[in-house]
Symmetry: C2
Subunit: 331 residues, 2 copies
């Protein structure tokens, strides 16, 4: 047992009364029935997990977890590992893409260092994280969520080498040809792509006997991936709905879904990235992405780009007159 598995075993269900009331209002406002289609469903989803019949996005936030990866030594990225620290600094100084997006969307950004300059072990040869580190990161992520005052949370990450970890997680659950899960990440060349595929295959051979989903996350994940998974669980317990970001974020929370099929019901997919494995993962999770714009950045940027849509979806139910309010009650 881990801190994370404990909290995962005790997940709250959505507020069905809030859902029903929001659905009823969505069906009563001044527009043809179903005209907003999926956006009405998003408002109902938000109501259920925010636990209010008047869902709103008034103080959105992003948590960006950052960590380094031992497997980067295998030459799986076009950037050196010290770029993680540089981007963490830029994010904390408000100069990265996620900061600009968050400013435009009216959201805050909190960067959480769970392993920058303290890389995971090389997953080709040993578990990426010890059980103790896994619990330590979980506790940090829980505390980061506890420190937030938010009604909608975007999860993001920074970590050179982390598309390799994401591919290993996805492949571990999918079986079959591991190489379909390996893409170019930040833009690696053909030789690097070969090294990346080999690193994933080697890691999977090492963990062939591991079946527990959270153990797979510990074996071939990374500190920022564990941070995102733990934050997703913590947010569920605090009635904070989540927008998932791209491939790495989605891979990080996949083990939660495998362990408990309802574990990601409070999460929407913000976008589908250009990393080929992402669309496959979203299909696996039966999550339709709000956006499909070929983005491939991470940092939570794709989730943040989708955030205004959730805000509009809520406003489209809460902020519009009903037929009765506008015309008077039908007699």
């Amino acid at each position: 047992m881990s801190l994370l598995s404990d909290r995962l075993a005790d997940l709250p269900a959505p507020d069905e009364a809030a859902r029903a009331e929001t659905r009823s209002r969505a069906d009563s406002v001044l527009r043809p029935a179903g005209a907003l289609a999926w956006l009405d469903d998003i408002a109902v989803w938000k109501a259920g997990w925010q636990r209010t019949p008047t869902p709103t996005v008034s103080h959105p936030a992003a948590l960006v977890f950052a960590g380094d990866h031992g497997v980067a030594a295998a030459g799986v990225s076009s950037y050196p590992s010290d770029v993680t620290a540089a981007m963490l600094d830029a994010t904390r100084e408000g100069r990265a893409t996620i900061n600009a997006f968050a400013d435009a969307a009216g959201a805050t950004v909190t960067a959480v260092d769970v392993g920058v300059g303290r890389p995971t072990a090389d997953m080709r040869h040993e578990p990426a994280l010890t059980a103790e580190r896994f619990d330590e990161i979980t506790a940090t992520a829980f505390a980061a969520v506890d420190d937030l005052d938010t009604d909608l949370l975007v999860l993001g990450e920074l970590g050179i080498g982390n598309t390799t970890a994401a591919a290993a997680i996805a492949a571990a659950f999918a079986g079959g040809d591991a190489t379909v899960w390996v893409g170019r990440g930040t833009g690696i060349d053909d030789a690097g792509l070969d090294r990346k595929r080999s690193a994933v295959q080697e890691s999977l051979r090492r963990i062939a006997g591991v079946v527990d989903p959270l153990e797979i996350l510990r074996e071939v994940g990374g500190s920022e991936l564990v941070g995102m998974a733990a934050a997703a669980v913590a947010a569920r317990h605090r009635s904070i709905p989540i927008i998932l970001d791209g491939y790495i974020c989605t891979a990080a929370v996949l083990p939660l879904h495998v362990a408990e099929p309802t574990a990601l019901d409070h999460c929407v997919a913000g976008h589908c990235s250009a990393e080929p494995g992402h669309r496959l993962l979203l299909d696996r999770l039966e999550k339709r992405p709000l956006l499909d714009l070929d983005m491939r950045l991470g940092e939570g940027s794709g989730g943040m780009a989708a955030l205004p849509l959730v805000k509009l979806a809520c406003a489209g139910v809460v902020g519009v007159a009903t037929f009765d309010e506008w015309f008077g009650p039908a007699v």
Copy 2:
């Protein structure tokens, strides 16, 4: 000649220097080259038409044109014509969906009455608009754009019966089977769909000899469609980029594109609606929609839903540090 054809003959080109400077910055900021893909292109597009190397969305606006349709007498809508006036009132009072969306996106909404309670003629039997009314509506739309202080404009509409007009315009330019352009609009039943198809076919037979694109708009369009087309041209002259809304909006500006292939270069497609003809029209215009969410409301709602993406795209270039700014110039 009409007021609209005069202004259409004299369209400005984009600011290439602003485009080049924005592209250069997009390629220099703290992220892997191309990581934001299309959003960088949107920022460059915005720079070119806003005519500034620092494109921003700081005071966005929507213009919602409203008008009634003589062809509504053919039973082509599931709502009576007086719903147009009611929705115009609701929009002016800030109680419609477009108002709630605009509030959430930080935009203003201006409703422009170009023919509510003053329906077009029944296009099955005579031209929807006289040449005088066409010019009058054009002048009203030009004035509405002149009254705006905005850096990004969403065009929208209200008008019971106007998907029939949109289908007639689209079919007039496409040739072939007119019925592929006819959808259910606000949700008409099968019998109504048959009446709608017949109305479109009858209208097209009547205008079989008309070839001038703006004349087709006058013959089978509607006052709010002419208003949107005229506003699109006026905005081009005032360096205001545009987000198009759904099927009706896109059909309204199609004649501009047929008359002058570059006429819509300052417009992006906000979304693809559930009305089947919309995707075909967007393909014809070679415009990829920012959103694809099955919305089918009008009012400018789909364009407004996409507006935050343009804002984020600009912020993602203007508001992010370059590598040189962050690390110092390379030696």
